[in-house]
């Protein structure tokens, strides 16, 4: 456990040692604010909740998280530091988990910095704060899902741009599979269970069900097992491709 913490600490410090942290956080806050107020008609709706705010999170993450995750492994392989890292007395899963957790904690920090939004709704009315807490939790879990995908795509290539594009595409598949428009394409001609299977892999479906305030264990389990799957894939790919 100790070594995971050491890796987490170094990676996290790395975000803040470069402009990445500032750029990511500022853009995240600006976009989530802009989406909520302009596109989400936050004021016009006249309701004290954060639904418009959270509704945009999947889309924000879709683009921003790959930008954060693309360097996780690609850079390590390009610079050759992976050779130094993996010849330290550490296991592959400790490294994979440590790096992932650092990125996740960082996303959590960015998410936590949206707290003025929460304060604002509480000043404007009486929102259901339980729902908001659940939504934050759901958003964080979903961010973990995007990050784990990004980690795996970053392991596939030394090229960060390719890693970025791959993560956006795979992330998009996981978002869209719950989108009504996409589901309509399938409905009618595919058996119901396939339709269910497709939508059950959707980030949207699970995120929406959590952000209604119902903390269903199945939704949490979905994200946790999705993260575990992609991290396992990351470790396998690194093991295969580290020599290149």
């Amino acid at each position: 456990m100790g070594r995971i913490k050491v890796i987490l600490k170094r990676e996290l410090a790395g975000y803040f040692a470069t402009p990445i942290a500032a750029v990511f956080i500022v853009i995240f806050l600006l976009l989530s604010g802009a989406f909520t107020f302009y596109l989400g008609n936050f004021f016009v709706r006249g309701q004290a909740d954060l639904i418009p705010f959270f509704d945009f999170h999947p889309w924000l993450y879709l683009v921003l998280i790959p930008a954060l995750a693309m360097r996780l492994w690609a850079e390590e392989r390009k610079e050759g530091t992976i050779e130094m890292l993996l010849t330290l007395p550490v296991t592959m899963w400790e490294v994979v988990v440590g790096k992932f957790l650092a990125a996740w904690v960082f996303t959590g920090i960015a998410l936590a910095l949206t707290f003025p939004m929460w304060i604002t709704v509480n000043m404007l009315g009486n929102p259901d704060n339980g729902v908001i807490v659940a939504s934050y939790l759901g958003s964080l879990l979903m961010a973990g899902g995007f990050l784990a995908i990004g980690s795996c795509m970053s392991a596939l290539t030394k090229n960060q741009v390719i890693a970025f594009i791959l993560s956006v595409v795979v992330g998009l598949a996981f978002v869209l599979s719950g989108f009504p428009m996409i589901l309509n394409l399938f409905s009618g001609w595919t058996p119901h269970f396939i339709l269910n299977a497709v939508s059950s892999f959707s980030f949207l479906t699970h995120f929406h069900s959590i952000s209604k305030g119902v903390l269903d264990l199945r939704d949490i389990f979905f994200f946790v097992s999705l993260i575990a799957f992609w991290l396992f894939a990351t470790a396998t790919i690194i093991d295969m491709k580290k020599a290149e």
Partner: protein, 318 residues
């Protein structure tokens, strides 16, 4: 002299390329083994397998009794490794980087601080401790790589081209450092500098095309040189043919070659019969003939010549 590194039948294939082809050897405490070999011989690949970065296609390595494939953590704890090119996290400072390595190796608190500062002194990094690594010169980066390898005072040191990119003073310092650490450790280093082998290694191994072609002390290697124990004699030019004939008459001389003349002086190389020590006789001959001798010496043999003979592609027979 306990065996600390035990390598058996190490083999690595990259697709159809066989990079390392059945390498076996052992290294004991106090030994400094120099890996020599042309580019692409498989030196780095061998080191990557010994340190557990690459999984061998066949064979394995035991570090202080721990198999790198079966007990990688125990084995890795005992190794300090400087990878080729001395990679390091570019946006960190040397001091943060070494602290990170120390923490990964389970050091903490006062112990960690002392190790870092002690190591920094050993490799002369004091002046750049707080400067981002990406702004360091090549030599400083290499020294940082060395520092990270020796930080935990490992029993086994694997150094891939440790003096590459260092200035002559630093090369000397690093070689001295390696020699002072040698008695307690088993050290394997790779190099393209043949004098380095003579300067620090107790044993030299030439690798070509993934195979070990010679393994012995640097002196053994010199002994394989065709010019080993030959006499070089430089005298004021006279009747070259007469001189050559005169020299060839000496007992124990196998062959005399004229190596060239520059108007004033002529140089001969005199090959002895195997096992004969003829420098005194050559000197005697020169005195008797009253030649004006400018130089008379025994050659130890050229390592680079041995290296070339063993590793250069054979010329096609015509």
């Amino acid at each position: 002299m306990g065996t600390m590194v035990d390598i058996t039948g190490l083999r690595k294939e990259f697709g159809s390329i066989v990079a390392v082809d059945g390498v076996s050897f052992t290294v004991g405490q106090g030994e400094v083994l120099g890996f020599l070999g042309p580019n692409g011989a498989g030196k780095s690949t061998t080191m990557k397998m010994i340190t557990g970065f690459l999984t061998p296609t066949g064979g394995t390595a035991k570090i202080c009794g721990y198999d790198i494939l079966e007990q990688p953590l125990e084995a890795k704890k005992r190794i300090g490794y400087l990878p080729e090119g001395a990679p390091a996290y570019q946006d960190m400072t040397p001091s943060a980087f070494l602290t990170f390595i120390g923490e990964m190796r389970g050091l903490s608190g006062e112990d960690l601080r002392k190790r870092v500062s002690g190591t920094v002194e050993k490799v002369n990094l004091q002046s750049v401790l707080e400067q981002p690594i990406e702004t360091l010169s090549k030599g400083f980066k290499r020294r940082l790589g060395l520092a990270q390898a020796i930080l935990h005072d490992p029993e086994v040191l694997i150094l891939d081209e440790p003096t590459d990119g260092l200035d002559p003073n630093q090369k000397h310092e690093v070689r001295t450092l390696i020699r002072t650490m040698a008695p307690e450790k088993a050290i394997i280093l790779s190099t393209h500098i043949l004098e380095e082998v003579q300067a620090v290694c107790t044993r030299a191994m030439i690798i070509a095309k993934g195979k070990v072609v010679t393994d012995g002390t640097p002196a053994d290697l010199e002994g394989q040189s065709p010019t080993h124990n030959t006499i070089v004699l430089t005298v004021r030019s006279g009747d070259v043919y007469a001189m050559q004939a005169q020299l060839a008459k000496i007992d124990g001389v196998k062959k005399v070659e004229e190596m060239g003349q520059d108007g004033e002086f002529t140089q001969f190389r005199i090959f002895p019969d195997p096992g004969r020590w003829i420098i005194a006789d050559v000197g005697q001959c020169a005195r008797e003939q009253q030649w004006e001798v400018a130089e008379l010496q025994v050659e130890r043999g050229q390592l680079d010549e041995v290296f070339r003979n063993l590793t250069a592609p054979k010329q096609a027979l015509t």
